[in-house]
Symmetry: C2
Subunit: 348 residues, 2 copies
């Protein structure tokens, strides 16, 4: 029997689901970052192979099978990456075609069975697209950590790091982010000074410059923690520095969405706006007063749908490649099925 | 006879001067970036060796001599760098002691014979120091391109690149920086679109991501060009986007200086503020309405002195190491002497 697999290859984590043409799910697997641009080709293929192996469960070993695999992926898939991925899939007994689809389309199809609408992803990066006839028509944002992606996980993490460094250096206001970041990096405040600087500042700079720049994204959750700390009973107020960072982030993400919506010359598109990525998930759940109204305004009346990831959408795209129509009913069943087999994120 | 050399090892260019204990200069040499953190150990030693060779002129070959060399350098000099530098100097016939001094002290001593005061450098990075008793007492800023250095050449270059990318993507206002940056990177505007994006945007992103991040500093001069374009006769106004970037830069540099001045618990320091680095040189000469009043306010009454680089200061530090007192008169003579032998920057 033909094995159909849908993979959502993210910058920090990946998901794979094994299913049949009727949408019945047989297995689910998670692993680390599977985007070759973010983690390198070898590490990406290792992660995707592991996620697939876990989705296959006991059925992997020995038996060769015809397969069809769709991978939802940000950016461009290079020939060396595709060759290594196909070799790894063959090693897992999967002999067949694999197709790369844009992660924006995976996210979009996770949220709707429509062929028209918008998708916004704010995770490690920040990007939006207009979808027309089931294809990406226009892309806005997604210019990467150095040249754009304002509001992304990297950007929030970098703003946190810059704010804490400035505060420790006496160049910026004190902020609740400082103890949070020092704890996250395992640095103790000593008050010792050397070479004209405080020792914890020198130590923090060493720790952070030892990371690859994009890894600053791992500190983004601290901003949400700092704004949640505000509490009327204990008379503490949410951290102003963290709130400023999240307000600029939410505005920038909304601007990218608004640009995609405005690119719609004839406003015939009447689908929804699908929101994906860790920053949007955290923003809508943990700082709704900062994120929700900005996104609503940018969406200009279109319904907002939040998705956990792009794996359902990758499955939808696979089924369409195989000639199956995925209507509202089928889409709903697929979402339920993936939820049934989905393992908790903490199991990675 | 003992050969005394002073070297100013910058991130993008280096200078060396050969002189005697009376301050008489015998030769001057320039070469590329000599900071091992910025360009790598091998390239830095190559550049410093070349600058020294040029300063020595014909006197280099064959003859071994006792020497004393002072190198003014940002950041920490590692043991491998020092070993390679000493080997290169020995190869040039210089057998003797070499001493590393902070670039902030080189800049400070280029501007004054005082032992107390302040120095600010805004070049590739942005940093300020309080000098007490001829030594660096407090350092502010200089946290590097990822975590700080707001207002530095890198920061200005990156803001230019981000503004142009946003403008081409429809996410930011149009700006005179766009044609300037496209010309600087050799990209023609075609109007062609592919993969949901304009072709010149994709091409610009490829060009800029191919650089090392700090190399974005090379585009900083475009901001000064864009604000100078304003002209009453031709009814053009200075570019608002470029002006915003330079205003934030000037404010950030002024804040770093102000923090160094404020760190002075007992305001007994009555020296001057020495300003160095390419951004401050360009700012004070080409955008004085943006830079001058901010720096004056931050300096809190101390006199501002602008220097071309730190090579005179490195010579002052060398003379002091050799037990020579450098008073106001001697300092003035040294400045004149270095100016006499100095070759134009364009000869590099």
């Amino acid at each position: 029997m033909r094995r159909i697999l849908a993979i959502d290859a993210g910058g920090t984590s990946s998901r794979a689901v094994l299913f049949d043409v009727n949408g019945e799910c047989r297995g689910f697997g998670r692993a680390g970052g599977g985007n070759p641009t973010a983690v390198g080709i070898a590490a990406a293929v290792d992660a995707l192979g592991l996620a697939v192996e876990r989705a296959l469960g006991g059925t992997a070993s020995g038996s060769a099978a015809d397969s069809f695999v769709v991978v939802a992926l940000a950016g461009t898939a290079t020939a060396p990456f595709l060759a290594l991925l196909d070799a790894r899939l063959a090693h897992l007994g999967l002999h067949g075609r694999s197709v790369i689809e844009p992660d924006l389309l995976g996210t979009f199809c996770s949220g709707t069975s429509d062929h028209h609408g918008y998708a916004v992803i704010a995770g490690t990066g920040a990007i939006a697209a207009r979808v027309v006839g089931g294809h990406i028509h226009t892309v806005k944002g997604g210019s990467g950590w150095l040249l754009g992606d304002t509001g992304s996980g990297f950007w929030i993490g970098q703003q946190i790091a810059r704010a804490v460094v400035a505060s420790l250096d006496g160049l910026g206001p004190s902020t609740a982010l400082t103890p949070l970041l020092l704890t996250a990096t395992g640095i103790e405040r000593t008050g010792v000074r050397s070479r004209g600087r405080s020792e914890e500042l020198s130590q923090l700079m060493r720790e952070l410059y030892a990371l690859r720049p994009v890894e600053l994204a791992r500190f983004a959750p601290l901003a949400f923690e700092a704004v949640e700390h505000g509490d009327i009973e204990s008379e503490t107020t949410p951290d102003v520095v963290a709130r400023d960072i999240l307000e600029v982030a939410a505005s920038a993400i909304a601007r990218v969405l608004a640009a995609a919506v405005e690119s719609d010359v004839k406003p015939e598109v009447d689908g929804c706006v699908v929101l994906g990525g860790s920053v949007l998930a955290a923003g809508l759940a943990r700082a709704p007063d900062i994120f929700t109204h900005r996104l609503r305004a940018a969406a200009g009346g279109f319904e907002l749908v939040t998705v956990e990831d792009g794996v359902v959408g990758a499955a939808v795209l696979a089924l369409r490649h195989l000639g199956r129509e995925v209507d509202v009913e089928f889409h709903r069943r697929l979402v339920r099925e993936v939820d049934r087999v989905r393992t908790p994120a903490t199991q990675v």
